[in-house]
Symmetry: D2
């Protein structure tokens, strides 16, 4: 299948620039978003607007969703009037939202019953990656469907990795959020520990970065953490949502994630304290608070 028309539902901070990149790559993009302003921006970029989700979804070569959470995706895709029911047999549905692996599996099963190929293709790389088209995309689904979808995915991402069968993309994304949250919190604990002992954390990080203690968080985020600059980046509220997916997905398969759970509790506390709009590195704030320091 050669892909011409792409229906795109969810034109928010991430979805908007992703859809615009599809337009730039020459696809005929028909986009829908609840707030009309986002749709207009897509039209200005050269796409077309849809008045309803069903209009974006019906009879396209590919339908893409980029929605906040599992229930939004289920509402959009499943059921009698859902995207999978409206899709042309032989077409593709790609959910790029971050949702539960079990939701991705359910979408794939529903698609299979209707002859629609389904991929779960969540992303990492943040707003900047969406704008620049350099997202990392973790794809789960059948190899032929991944091959068909590749031109579309590569128009949005710098790295497209097929990580396994249906749900695998979401599983890998959940693992990504586990590792990221835990590493950020570990760096936060280390920074507070170092400062409380009177050690300059910047000097210490320089000494630590090259060894087995090193991490992308230490390299790329520790400097702003030391400065207490918590401009997002990746907001706590979103990371909190994703850690909810992680903990329930771990529970689904009976896997203990002691560190993941603690990190999820701390991220939840930050959000409960009203810091959902700070960068997830604001875990450092909480680490300081728990040590009677800072602020």
């Amino acid at each position: 299948m050669v892909i011409h028309t792409v229906g795109f539902v969810g034109l928010g901070i991430m979805g908007g620039p992703m859809a615009a990149n599809l337009v730039k790559a020459g696809f005929d993009v028909v986009g829908y978003n609840r707030s009309r302003g986002k749709v207009e921006r897509l039209v200005e970029a050269g796409g077309r607007g849809a008045a309803r989700p069903s209009e974006a979804a019906r009879d396209r070569d590919v339908v893409i969703s980029m929605l906040p959470d599992s229930p939004d995706v289920e509402e959009f895709a499943l059921g009698d009037g859902g995207a999978l029911a409206l899709a042309r047999p032989g077409s593709l549905y790609i959910d790029m939202s971050t949702v539960r692996p079990a939701t991705a599996v359910a979408l794939a099963e529903s698609g299979r019953a209707r002859g629609v190929g389904v991929l779960d293709a969540p992303v990492s790389g943040g707003e900047r990656g969406a704008i620049e088209g350099t997202l990392s995309i973790m794809v789960g689904g059948d190899p032929e469907d991944v091959a068909t979808a590749r031109p579309v995915l590569e128009a949005m991402g710098g790295t497209v990795v097929h990580v396994g069968a249906a749900g695998a993309g979401q599983t890998v994304k959940a693992a990504n959020q586990l590792l990221t949250a835990v590493t950020v919190e570990a760096v936060a604990e280390a920074v507070v520990f170092l400062e409380a002992h009177g050690v300059d954390p910047t000097v210490a990080i320089g000494a630590l970065a090259g060894g087995l203690a090193g991490s992308a968080v230490l390299d790329r985020r520790a400097p702003s953490m030391v400065q207490r600059d918590f401009t997002p980046g990746f907001r706590c509220a979103l990371h909190h949502k994703d850690l909810g997916i992680l903990t329930s997905a771990a529970r689904d398969v009976g896997v203990a994630i002691p560190l993941g759970t603690v990190a999820a509790q701390l991220m939840g506390a930050l959000v409960a304290q009203g810091h959902g709009d700070l960068d997830n590195t604001a875990l450092l704030r909480l680490a300081e608070e728990l040590s009677g320091r800072g602020h």
Copy 2:
């Protein structure tokens, strides 16, 4: 001061090759170890043997200790017959063991009272780094003493970083052990989570490694973890000891380290289960056991 003679106490797995590298670099090394075989090996390498710790310590340009734990170092260095009492004023004492920051500070204070410069200079990089002279050395102490000691330290290490005043080397080492333990455990949790969902962890790690979830542990240790190869490397028993230093040093300054504490509990459990001689990546074993998987 130009350094000629170096007393070296503690010629074990790490200390033996470190002392041999000093010999190779042209220093006159007088070494002591409880087991005579280790002393003989130093003599074969071109060093001299001492019959007692005091003989190694008395009247040297530099005295170095590489001992198992804080009490060993305190017994060697402090007190009336200790290394600091035997040291020549103007000489240097460098403790390269991993001990409590508070012990390092006590050594420095005792040295100051006797006119002896004291450095805490713990290392990372393991047995291989000790043999190849490529250790990372984190140094705490006065800048002039660090400058004086640099030729000696550079004969043993590939990276020598002066991270702050007395105790700072040990503080940074403790932070290193925090970050390493937490990252290993996070990767272990991620691997079990991925496998339980039927995702090939090697493929997933490939997708994760380049992003913010990336770490030295993911790059360098995850492959052997996936293979369940727990050949040390860095043994659980030693990491457990170091995490004891971390948790008490955190307590000393009132810093909460929720992830560090959980990682310390898990490492302690591995050791209690009799796995002290496995590599610290064996945290994966425990993660599997807590999920009813593996073995």
Copy 3:
């Protein structure tokens, strides 16, 4: 309203004897269960059997459900053919299952729209309490509905406490499961700690029971724990399910429950290890395993 006919859906280990106690108290009980054998047992006890859930639910004075989990209750009660749609205006629906507080609130809202009073009335006290009619019942809902339902509830329970508005019964039940799980785990940790130090835990528990360390778990469960008798009682699998409700209900309101979360992880590990049918005091097994002891 004087209550004559009670529809009862879910005649399992708990529901079966509860329904039988209603029969004994003189109510006309029409019961349904998926497995016919349970229905027959109710008939032998003097009740009537229903062939379908709708038959038990339609047009009764009171409908009671005692089902495994939130989705079961939602399926039974909500929707066009659900119990609330079939209920006579002015009648009562009492869900005695342990489900999410949010589910209880949704049931109450749906009932309100149809003129049906809804109570959430989960129980504690286990199989024995169900048989002996001595359950503790925590009731959420409107005071008049609680007053109306009291004769029915008191036929099944020794203690009936109205703890607040709709959902409050489930909230208190979740708090009950939090406190119970944490106390069991704390006693497990204490027993292993005492034994590892060579102290007879029975003697120690005698010394501890009267003070601020005392608890119902210490009084009633520690003796069998010390004997490693994990005959249920309250099975791990059920407590695990309830702790899932707890953690998601805590997340719903942004409340951090660090101990509750750890206890939930440990209970989940026990279940993943295949011990779901042991009593929840089997947390002691896991505590021993994590200390390299026992078995």
Copy 4:
């Protein structure tokens, strides 16, 4: 041995009234404290004052210490001029401080070498118990020594339980502090959880108290917790110290205490935040803070 003269070192909040109770019971008490005012108060109560610890310790039938921490006790009792060296063979030394089990064992070994019976006899029951002579005393040591000491101990305590050999008293005390801290924190989490769901915690506690969720903390402390009355009682700073003993004693024997460790971290955080002088039930403050509630 019939006991006449008792040396008593450490006449603080606990030790002062304990020594006074000994005077009341007819013993000849010779007391020492660093601050003279405390000694004078003992003299007013009918005791005698000592100018130095050694004066209180030398040649008494029984010597009792009630000191802040392990190093204080070691300094007082061990070494050439210490209480055990000054004690008459055949006399008793009773340490009633809360210290590490390992310290108690070391005292007992040192006493044995000198023919002095040694008991570890830490207490619970707080300042009020000390004044009223109703402390719970957990005693470790040889049965004959416990029998000999009983009249002295019963002058201070309402319950005197011989829990095992040397160190057992301290071990049981550590278990007591584990159970107490965990139960307080669990009740704190439950209260915040209930309130966040709009449930009146007082009503809920009434419903929970009689079941398996019940505890002495729920009965005796929850009411003041709900009122946010954190008047000590048992101060966080002391509980924090005792939890340090617990965690190191658990580490000494390789026992994992996941809940104990989390509770210790939280208590440490409270102290680090400057709340060391509040009652340990102030864990509720922290639970609220982590949920963005309260204050």
